[in-house]
């Protein structure tokens, strides 16, 4: 029993426990190149891989992690009752672009989102793709009850797709590549983002940790920013690092990176995203709308109000911290 017992109050121990996930982002570069370890040599840093936002939320509840890479949908859940996880959003790792998309299978006869009525669509429930799918349907005026939505993990979507059991699927890389080979993209998350329904991968920090170690959070934000710069400037080096973490070839990694949207560090502090200490950005509204979506799904009891969510965006030192 180490998790619950130790927790973040063991500040003196100077440890950082990071949770990461296997999606291509600057986070993997930070881990692969040991950037954080270099920036904070006197901290003991552990990286733990998780495969869903839900399990990361659980780990936060268990006080087993301090910083995590996690999708916006689970964050909205974590910030709402009954979880009310004391963590704050401190970074936007990436915005879903063409790497998450709704694809219709060739031969299903579906040409646009509205044509999905009466069809069967696969999506991993509780994921950002699930959120995006329902947003896309809503946008096209298709009611959820008019389609059959099936809960499937990406690899299972691929299997069912190949058999012809699905007419469409909302999924992400790498399985998305295979879907696109035998299907037609109806809409990608990039378009939804421009339409005000972006899905994001966020960096969150437990509140207790942020209060105890603000300097560590700063260092972490700096190295994450550094990684974003690397993605922008040296795609090949970034791809090599990401590929090593994902057990895929650098070429594949580059291909995947090219389809995501990676913000410039400076943009993070813009009103569009995190905002500044003076004014919290639109991210908070985005999280509230994600929470509203969950409420509509009867997955949470109540939607937190905007002010509460704004308090959960860690803007301390913005925009200066990120402008080096």
């Amino acid at each position: 029993g180490n998790g619950a017992a130790s927790g973040t109050n063991k500040a003196e121990a100077k440890t950082i426990r990071l949770a990461y996930q296997a999606f291509p982002s600057g986070d993997l570069i930070v881990k692969n190149q040991g950037l954080l370890e270099k920036a904070l040599p006197d901290y003991k840093i552990t990286w733990t891989k998780f495969d869903s936002g839900a399990s990361i939320n659980t780990a936060f509840v268990a006080k087993s992690v301090d910083i995590a890479a996690i999708g916006s949908s689970p964050v909205a859940r974590g910030l709402s009752a009954p979880l009310n996880i004391p963590y704050q959003v401190a970074f936007v790792l990436d915005v879903a672009g063409d790497n998450e998309a709704l694809v219709a299978r060739n031969g299903s006869g579906v040409a646009d989102v509205a044509g999905l009525r009466g069809k069967k669509i696969g999506v991993p429930f509780a994921s950002t793709a699930h959120y995006s799918l329902l947003a896309a349907l809503d946008q096209a005026g298709v009611k959820e009850s008019e389609v059959t939505v099936v809960d499937l993990e990406p690899q299972d979507i691929l299997a069912a797709w190949t058999r012809g059991d699905l007419d469409a699927a909302y999924s992400w890389l790498p399985s998305l590549d295979d879907l696109r080979k035998t299907g037609k993209v109806l809409i990608a998350s990039r378009q939804l983002a421009t339409a005000g329904k972006p899905t994001l991968d966020l960096g969150v920090v437990s509140t207790a940790f942020a209060q105890a170690h603000p300097e560590a959070v700063d260092a972490w934000r700096k190295v994450e920013a550094q990684a974003l710069d690397l993605i922008a400037t040296d795609r090949a080096a970034a791809a090599k690092a990401v590929g090593q973490e994902l057990n895929i070839s650098p070429a594949d990694a580059e291909h995947q990176l090219s389809q995501g949207v990676f913000l410039k560090p400076a943009d993070l502090a813009s009103d569009e995203w995190l905002g500044t200490e003076a004014k919290v950005g639109k991210l908070a509204e985005n999280l509230v709308s994600a929470a509203q979506f969950l409420k509509d799904q009867q997955k949470i009891d109540a939607v937190p109000d905007l002010a509460t969510v704004q308090k959960s965006v860690y803007v301390k030192g913005l925009p200066d911290v990120l402008s080096h």
Partner: protein, 287 residues
């Protein structure tokens, strides 16, 4: 109720003799049993209530009241929404029970046949036993995707998963029991002119029945505990699908409610199996 040793109160040592397989006070025993169980339930309830109150975190340990509330919510139509994810709790459970039932029956039948063959036909044992051992070590989560490729996303892969999960306990228990069949009675049957098959049917199988019964009970338990894995795919309606969904949204009270639904119906089925076993095997402890 059963063998003398077990009917004896441990407080009295050395144990006083029991008067045959069914001692007196069988009805007194029943009342005592019910009382003991109710007592144990109360203790568990109080512990739960205390745990819930001290942790004060419904995501950790939801209070009994919250779970009770979810029971009502998921069993009724509220605000135009039926139960959970559009299905009542009883419907989720019913769908899953059907899957468990079918999967168990197939798995038990397959395990019985495989086990008997492995126990009696040497060639088959040599070839099939490693395969069974290999397969039963494999994690269902790892090979489930293959099932989707082969069988789609509807009932078939779920039933396959449950069947394959239920098969090994029966197969292993049967094969082992067959090898333990009393040599003296096998000889007795052969001396009476029994054919090979008749020996299996009239001696080996009956003598293996108690252990097969244990295997069946384990198999049904395994099928039960695999229902969430089986319902990771297209699992709603289904109690496993409901639990998974609730889990991903950290609705711990619904998760606990689902666990109760599974555990209690599992208890019921096990009690039925045990009754059937006692009826079918009056000679337990006599061979």
């Amino acid at each position: 109720m059963t063998v003398p040793l077990s009917t004896v109160d441990p407080a009295v040592a050395p144990a006083p003799p029991a008067t045959g397989p069914r001692g007196p006070g069988a009805t007194g025993g029943r009342r005592r049993r019910v009382l003991l169980r109710i007592g144990a339930l109360l203790v568990l309830y109080v512990l739960w209530e205390i745990a819930a109150r001290t942790t004060r975190n419904p995501a950790f340990i939801p209070s009994p009241a919250a779970v009770w509330h979810q029971l009502i919510v998921t069993s009724t139509t509220h605000d135009g929404i039926r139960g959970y994810s559009g299905h009542l709790l009883i419907e989720h459970l019913g769908v899953s029970l059907r899957r468990i039932l079918v999967g168990s029956v197939i798995g038990v039948a397959g395990g019985l046949v495989l086990g008997l063959l492995m126990g009696t036909v040497t060639v088959l044992r040599i070839v099939v036993e490693p395969v069974v051992t290999f397969v039963r070590a494999l994690p269902p989560l790892a090979y489930f995707s293959l099932f989707i490729i082969w069988f789609g996303i509807d009932e078939t892969p779920k039933l396959w998963l449950l069947s394959i999960a239920a098969l090994p306990p029966v197969a292993v228990a049967t094969a082992a029991a067959v090898l333990s069949a009393p040599a003296g009675l096998i000889e007795a049957a052969r001396a009476l002119g029994a054919s090979r098959w008749a020996t299996v049917r009239d001696v080996v199988l009956p003598s293996a029945l108690p252990e097969i019964g244990t295997g069946v009970r384990l198999a049904v338990g395994v099928a039960y505990s695999s229902v969430v894995a089986a319902e990771t795919i297209n699992g709603v309606p289904g109690i496993g699908g409901m639990i998974r969904d609730a889990q991903r949204y950290s609705q711990t009270d619904v998760v606990v409610l689902g666990l109760f639904a599974i555990g209690l119906s599992g208890l019921l089925i096990d009690a039925l199996l045990r009754t059937a076993e006692n009826r079918l095997i009056p000679w337990r402890g006599r061979s």
